[in-house]
């Protein structure tokens, strides 16, 4: 498959601060490629340069045969951008927003109207099309935000953390829509700091930290690099103090890291089976009942931990 995007030694500095430090990668047509990294890693800056918003300090990127440095206008016709923050006119209706942005991308007349109807259907807002965006929930606004990026059927869609700050239901809908778009042939560059999203969506993943691309490959290629780590996931009762238990488990021999999300505790360890008994014992000592235990194969979280010594959410 031909590469639709080739990034070549891309550098972006703000004064003395290096936001992107000479990264190189490519994306094949039809692929979902995720840039995974914590906040401040350089994901948004990378997308901003690739989408021609900023000039790179050095290096270049070629999209569909056009340089982002030398031919920004040609690049803009090929790409769609879904920014991290909502970029909509809240006093316009959903339809008016789509119409305005469609015309900015050279759509007009019947083709524009037909495309607006398709996108409204796609984002599930056909019945709210004529209501002002400011009356929408956060999730609905996110969907309009995505709809604007899809309207002109770009060859390459940049999605910059599109699920930040929304409810699980809307997040699920967005992830499903990304997979749908990809099935229809759209190439997607997706940035996230959620390991689960990158794992679920991506054909290939680039892990970025402090402006450096520290790992690149398919998920299996990446996890093979750090095969010695496994994840042990515990689900405990809502009545119990998950933070206190995690704190106690951090002192168990063999536990490299313990993270808590709601009532789930994830333990990173070289050998999950070995720590299982002491973990259950510590829980029992505190009168905490473990509902389920899951041992996960090495994942991207473990890869990041292995490469940086930090968790993605640090």
């Amino acid at each position: 498959m031909p590469a639709i995007l080739e990034v070549q030694q891309l550098v972006k500095k703000y004064g003395d601060k290096v936001a992107v430090n000479g990264i190189s990668f490519d994306i094949q047509a039809g692929e979902i490629f995720s840039l995974l990294g914590p906040n401040g890693a350089g994901k948004t800056t990378t997308i901003s340069v690739l989408s021609t918003l900023y000039m790179p300090t050095a290096g270049d990127a070629v999209i569909g045969g056009h340089s982002v440095v030398k031919e920004p206008m040609a690049v803009r016709n090929l790409i769609g951008v879904v920014p991290q923050d909502l970029a909509l006119y809240e006093d316009l209706t959903a339809r008016e927003n789509l119409s305005f942005w469609g015309q900015m991308y050279n759509l007009s007349g019947k083709a524009l109207n037909a495309r607006i109807d398709q996108v409204l259907e796609q984002i599930g807002l056909k019945d709210r099309a004529n209501q002002r965006v400011k009356t929408f929930s956060g999730g609905m606004k996110r969907r309009v935000n995505i709809g604007v990026g899809l309207l002109h059927q770009p060859r390459l869609l940049f999605m910059d953390e599109p699920t930040v700050g929304i409810d699980p239901q809307s997040r699920r809908a967005i992830l499903d829509s990304v997979k749908d778009l990809n099935r229809q042939g759209m190439t997607v560059l997706y940035t996230t700091h959620y390991m689960e999203e990158a794992q679920e969506l991506s054909d290939r993943v680039g892990i970025i930290d402090h402006g450096d691309l520290i790992a690149l490959g398919t998920q299996s290629e990446l996890t093979r690099q750090v095969g010695e780590y496994e994840a042990l996931q515990l689900h405990i009762s809502e009545m119990d103090d998950s933070e206190a238990l995690a704190q106690a488990l951090r002192s168990v021999e063999g536990v490299v890291r313990a993270d808590v999300i709601d009532h789930n505790i994830t333990l990173i360890t070289p050998e999950a089976e070995k720590i299982l008994a002491p973990v259950v014992s510590r829980a029992n000592e505190r009168g905490i009942r473990i509902h389920t235990v899951t041992i996960q194969e090495p994942n991207l979280e473990a890869v990041f931990l292995h490469l940086t010594g930090r968790a993605l959410r640090d």
């Binding site: 918003l53 900023y54 923050d85 006093d91 305005f100 900015m104």
Partner: protein, 417 residues
Amino acid sequence: MKKILLLGWKDLTLAFRDRAALIMMLLAPFALTLGLGLVTGGLSGGSGSSGLSAIPLVLVNQDSGQLGGELVNVFQSAELAGLVAPQVSGDAAAARKLVDDDQTAAAVIIPAGFTASIIPDAGTGQSGAAAQIELYTNPSRPTSSGIIQAIVDQFINQVEIGRVGAQVTVSGLIASGRIEPQQAAVLGEQLAARQAQAADNPRITLTGVEADSPAVEFNVLAYMAPGMALMFLMFTVSNGGRTLLVEKAQGTLPRLLVAPLSPAQVLLGKMFGVFLTGTAQMLILIVASTLLFQLKWGNPLAVLVLVLACVVGAVGWGMLITALVKTPGQAASIGSAVMLIFGILGGSFFDISLLPSWFRTVSKITPNAWGLDGFSRLALGSGLAEIVPDIAGLLAMGVVLFGVSLFLFMRRGVIQR
């Protein structure tokens, strides 16, 4: 070009969906005009105290006849006492010098033989050689001198009505055989003189006369309404410029900058939006005040051209404010301050032609001053040709300020990659 128009139309739509902006754009200037009109008596027909008072002028009466004295009496009448402050002089050259030195708004010079040129001699029945009143006006005080001109015009109109009326009456009496042709000259003189005396009646007022009366029709609201409209136009343009920073903060500007249009198109589109909004605001205020206050703004084409020029000048300031500040909040604060300062400096609250010349010079940095000058001239009957300097001043202001703003935008990288 289409995208620039679309950007402008989008901003116009957003402006008219913003209730707070609508209040400031339309309701506030209207309410202030109405309020100031009530305070100054502009709605009840008095000469008021809106700043259009004690207009200094010099009267030079070289006419030995009756009409010259009548015109002096008109200016010295109780009805115009609050409006004009006449000073009588016998020296026409000295009177003109007072105008040239900006000591007075106008000199009214009534030439010798003025009465004789209108009223036929009782003995011969012949009128004297044509003699015209000279109105020597101060171009830097267009409103004041326009009012004096309107009073003089009205006096002449009434004298003319008297003269023609007397001729028709005398001809009718001769035709019906009620008087002999030899009596015509004496009777004609008596009738014309009686009509001329009517010029001293209280119909010469600022407002509040019968619809069919030919009295002076300068309404203080015709000064207040453009003053307020121009002041709040400054709000609209600073608020419109502010939307560029709002769009930057809310992410729509970056989104525009990665769409297939150039930064110049984005900036021009934003400017066009402010221009459209300002124009719509001015036109709505003009139409509303015409319908509700029966204001006469003057030649419609000239008014439209002047409105467009005012908006160009004001948009220049709006863009400059936007280029100088960093946040939408700063733009709002500075925009409001500039609106008030320009309102005072530009004469939106009082007639600056009564103030020292240095003040009037400084006021020329504001679109308010140029605009008010033009609107005052148009309300007093001038045409497009007479307001060309105002239009040129406003357009030059807009172009220069746009250039400076563009330079600042580029330097700060607001619209650049």
